[in-house]
């Protein structure tokens, strides 16, 4: 019981500090729905579905729990709200019971108008330093490692990582389907020839890149291949996207884009992803009108950060359950 109360108090300190940071920097805090009749389709995410029942007609309308507040926050940006942030619950279904996932988790998402993903790095660095100060942590220790938050985060491109760790030219890997199969075979990784490029890339990344990322300081892994479809704007070299991921102590903490703002590209993304979603375990309605907001969308950069994972780092917890009171898995899988 005491553990649960302690968790609440610690979570509160961190959320309060995050709120202070953004408010002090003149971001408007927003508060948007958790239930939505339609979503932005994402092939690699499964959602929770529920139903609204009309008490008189008995008509049932499907509703879905948001996997992230992106859909609403971008609509607000198109309405001219300016810099915004939100700390809200998000939901993801069909994820393995692990030390890093909980079906219900807390997402911090913020958007800075006029910035690109490069400027977002500085905002993130300052956020983390502010948190450390507010929590009165002198030296941030996670397990056996002391994490340096004072030096600028190390920025390393996916291309550099593939060259360093695998001796592989990423552009060749992107453009030659046989080459990626050849590398998988050379590394003796088990794969299915029918897997798509994204899956093969992720397999190599998870086997050889992610486990070797430095743990003594945060790392920004930058410029992912655009073959992994996201709402990030492409670079001048269209093989790459303006996207980074933040790793602290080897844990993926945040994802950032220079946001795609071309309505044609958004529409294409929605159509392609909706089609792929036909194979989803839990189908949902796509917000097909979403692209229309982009006729008025400001250039901006957005960051999505898993707050529980951030809490794990600051509170030195090995398991996400260590920072979630009443975790669902405590009742479904109590022994894990």
């Amino acid at each position: 019981m005491e553990e649960t109360v302690k968790k609440i108090i610690e979570r509160n300190k961190i959320i309060k500090a995050i709120r202070e940071y953004f408010t002090h920097n003149n971001y408007t805090e927003v508060d948007t729905p958790i239930l939505s009749p339609s979503l932005i389709p994402e092939t690699t995410i499964e959602v929770f579905a529920t139903t609204y029942v009309n008490p008189n007609s008995g008509k049932e309308s499907p509703l879905y729990l948001i996997p992230s507040p992106e859909i609403f926050m971008k609509k607000l940006l198109a309405m001219g709200i300016g810099n915004i942030f939100q700390i809200t619950k998000s939901f993801r279904n069909c994820e393995e019971v692990s030390s890093l996932h909980n079906p219900e988790f807390t997402m911090l998402e913020w958007y800075t108008v006029g910035d690109t993903y490069i400027e977002s790095i500085g905002v993130t660095e300052n956020l983390l330093r502010h948190l450390r100060e507010q929590l009165k942590i002198g030296h941030l220790r996670y397990g056996e490692t002391t994490i340096d938050l004072d030096s600028p985060f190390e920025i390393i491109s996916v291309e550099e990582l593939f060259k360093k760790k695998l001796g592989v030219n990423l552009s060749t890997l992107i453009n030659d389907e046989n080459y990626i199969n050849h590398i998988l075979e050379k590394q003796k990784l088990l794969y299915n020839k029918s897997s798509n490029w994204q899956e093969k890339f992720n397999q190599l990344f998870l086997a050889y890149i992610e486990p070797t990322l430095p743990k003594e300081h945060p790392v920004i892994v930058i410029d992912y291949p655009s073959k992994i479809k996201t709402l990030a704007k492409r670079h001048k070299n269209p093989d790459f996207s303006q996207r980074w991921e933040l790793y602290i102590a080897g844990i993926e903490i945040a994802n950032c884009y220079t946001e795609e703002d071309n309505p044609k590209n958004i529409r294409e993304f929605l159509e392609q992803e909706e089609k792929k979603k036909e194979k989803a375990l839990i189908k949902h309605k796509t917000d097909r009108e979403f692209y229309k907001y982009f006729y008025n969308f400001p250039p901006c950069s957005g960051v999505a950060m898993g707050i529980e994972r951030l809490m794990m780092i600051f509170l030195n917890k090995k398991e996400i359950r260590g920072v979630i009171p009443f975790s669902i898995f405590d009742s479904i899988y109590p022994s894990i």
Binding site: T44, E95, E199
Partner: protein
């Protein structure tokens, strides 16, 4: 066949017709992508450890194994030699297949042998085992700092860290998963 996502530590798998035991299993997710398992696998024929990353939805062959009780006799430098307690036949397991278990093999002790298609692959150790301390330096007077430890040798020749009060001749309980001292038994 099972889904890679159902693999757990200690399971036996057949990959390209070679038997492996799963030493470590981690669920990993790329930032944008489907779930994978990251495995540390030990080839039970060669003793070599390698890493695998497989999509959780991919099928993998799990091996049906049987267990047999066998008494550990000795090792001849190449193999560990066991005796099946029912048939009395001698069973050889290459040392390199389970080198890390050498520290726990007490002569005369009965263990569970894991067999696949008549080939002995591995042994299942009890989670905790007792061992006699055969060599222990005495702690010097004044060593009263809590948590201070010293090294002792147990009957298999293995060295382990124990609290200062443990003496030669004591029997201790050891956690075979971590190799750590648990408590004094006698």
């Amino acid at each position: 066949m099972i889904k890679a996502g159902s693999i757990s530590k200690g399971m036996f798998l057949s990959i390209k017709n070679e038997p492996y035991v799963v030493v470590e299993r981690e669920f990993v997710n790329p930032g944008k992508g489907s779930a994978f398992v990251r495995l540390k696998l030990k080839n039970l024929k060669t003793g070599l450890v390698n890493r695998q990353v497989i999509k959780s939805q991919e099928s993998v062959e799990d091996i049906e194994v049987e267990t047999r009780d066998a008494q550990y006799l000795y090792n001849d430098g190449n193999d560990f030699i066991f005796m099946d307690t029912e048939t009395y036949e001698q069973i050889h397991i290459p040392i390199k297949a389970m080198e890390e278990k050498m520290a726990y093999l007490k002569e005369g002790e009965t263990f569970q042998l894991i067999i696949w298609e008549s080939t002995p692959l591995d042994i299942k150790l009890p989670y905790k085992m007792t061992f006699k301390v055969i060599e222990a330096e005495n702690a010097t007077k004044g060593d009263t700092v809590t948590g201070a430890t010293k090294n002792v040798k147990i009957e298999t020749g293995y060295t382990i860290k124990v609290p200062l009060f443990i003496k030669e001749g004591d029997t201790i309980l050891v956690n075979t998963e971590t190799g750590e001292y648990v408590e004094r038994v006698n």
